[in-house]
Amino acid sequence: MTLFGYILRRLIGTIPVMLVVAVFIFLMLRLTPSDPAAIIAGDNANAEQVAKIRQQLGLDQPMLTQFFIWFGKVLTGDFGESFFFKKTVAALIAERIEPTLSLSLFTIVLAVLIAVPLGVLAAHRQGTWVDRLVMGFAVLGFSVPAFVIGYIFIYVFAIWLNWLPVQGYQRISEGLGGWALRLVLPALTLSVIYVALIARMTRTSVLEVLSEDYVRTARAKGQVERKVMFRHALRNAAVPIVTVIGLGVALLIGGVVVTESLYTIPGLGRLTVDAVLARDYPTIQAVILLFSFVYVMINLAVDLIYTLLDPRIRY
């Protein structure tokens, strides 16, 4: 099979998954006890006005028809109008996407730069105090909630040492320095759990590779240990590491919601919480659908990337 055919087949494979997600989100919010038409109409509306809005929204149609109308609109990027923010959900998402994207990318880069060397180090010094320290940190990173870590960071770096600004977000267009400076603490906070996850997987898969014959051969021929670790071990351990980076995006998305609320960053995570507080269902639907789509696509991309990189994997 050609490579193009393989990519196409994998892309088509994500359609049923996304369809299930869409049906689930649609049903979930359609089965709520509250009536969207009544919410839009407001408290002072009479029954006639509510009925009119219901007709406008298509809520008087059968459920299946409603789903296809809604899904058809979603495919064109039309998520309807936000009950709470009084503008289209698409416009709302567009203005909130930059902070979230900045924070996520910053965090992924930071986490990989910290976690991979830590994991390699732990594997290299297996059984020593270095290994135990790294693994202890990994368990701790899974257990301490992001907002507790965030407050520790805020207290130490912003209040006590006064090194970094506490809160808010500055758009890239207003200056790269302020943008990066404000992202340091949120990204550090968000990266803790991600570092824990990646470091653990790096250690496990490097350890596995280190027991292979070709590593023994490399050592036997007198290869420098650093080269053994990075050229032989890490490169061959890359597939599970890259996979866990992709799977960890789910944790990252959950963390974005918490971190943005903590540092008052006006991104999609903050929007999700605000929408839930306001019972703003079109926005909730759109945000969840978007995050799930991104998650599925990232994992597809990860799969494709290592299929291309690793000649041992056949498609």
Partner: protein, 305 residues
Amino acid sequence: MAAGATSAPQGVSRPPSAVAMALRHPGVIVGGIVVLVVVLMGLLAPLLGTIDPSSINPAARNRVPGAEFTMRTDTGERIRMTALFGTDSLGRDIYSRTIYGARVSLLVGVAVASLSVLIGLAIGLVAGFFRWLDAVVMRIMDGLMAIPAILLAIAMVSLFRAGVLTVILAIVVPEIPRVVRLVRSIVLSVREEPYVEAAVTLGTPTGKLLWRHVLPNTIAPLIVQGTFICASAILVEAILSFLGIGVPPEVPTWGNIMAEGRQVFSLYPHNIIYPGIFLAVTILAVNVLGDGLRDTLDPKMAKRV
């Protein structure tokens, strides 16, 4: 029958059972003891020198840890109290709120773990054994898994009125597909085993087959998985409460205490620090317990991770 006939011959020790090995694992011991302490703390909360966790005391707002304050009891007499962990911006005693907070966290953790394991087990057994159902069920589970867990919980919370039951349900739903996958994979491997094939050949009814031959194989992995789910449920409950969309704010939970402390954090960090420590230590203990159980009860899984 003579008593000596059934006992093992002298000098030959039987290999220790998995449970006995688990009870000797340092992680299980340390994690288990800490979890036990937290459970006792929650159960015995009224006896641990606490006052009513919801009683508001406007005269003693934002006291730092160790400060003394007077409070009026129900009978009208004034007593002097020491606020071990300080008070919040409504004058409520953080120590009492933190001790009582253990109750909700543990309730959510245990309820979510049991519910998602039971539901996931039922779906997983059925999906693993009936080929025609398998494809449909697993596609639905794949779809659910594609929604990041916390996000799905947040969306579920928005559907119902705020409350502990809502929070439990909201955390159970995203956990179910993970349990289903685990159970299904066990079922698929077990049904290839000769003893199951033999039972099938003998015409054992499906119900009995699942109960007698398949179910016992799922117990150890599910205990391990359930422990991890418990830790993650306690964490997610705290996150939801902290975001203001979990358990109603008047209920003392660790997440709620921290949420209320956010406004005054820079001046009075004790609102966040004490419940934060209890929360982190509890989750850590459950995770360490889970790691220990996995190493001893389910060595195959230990190898995989």
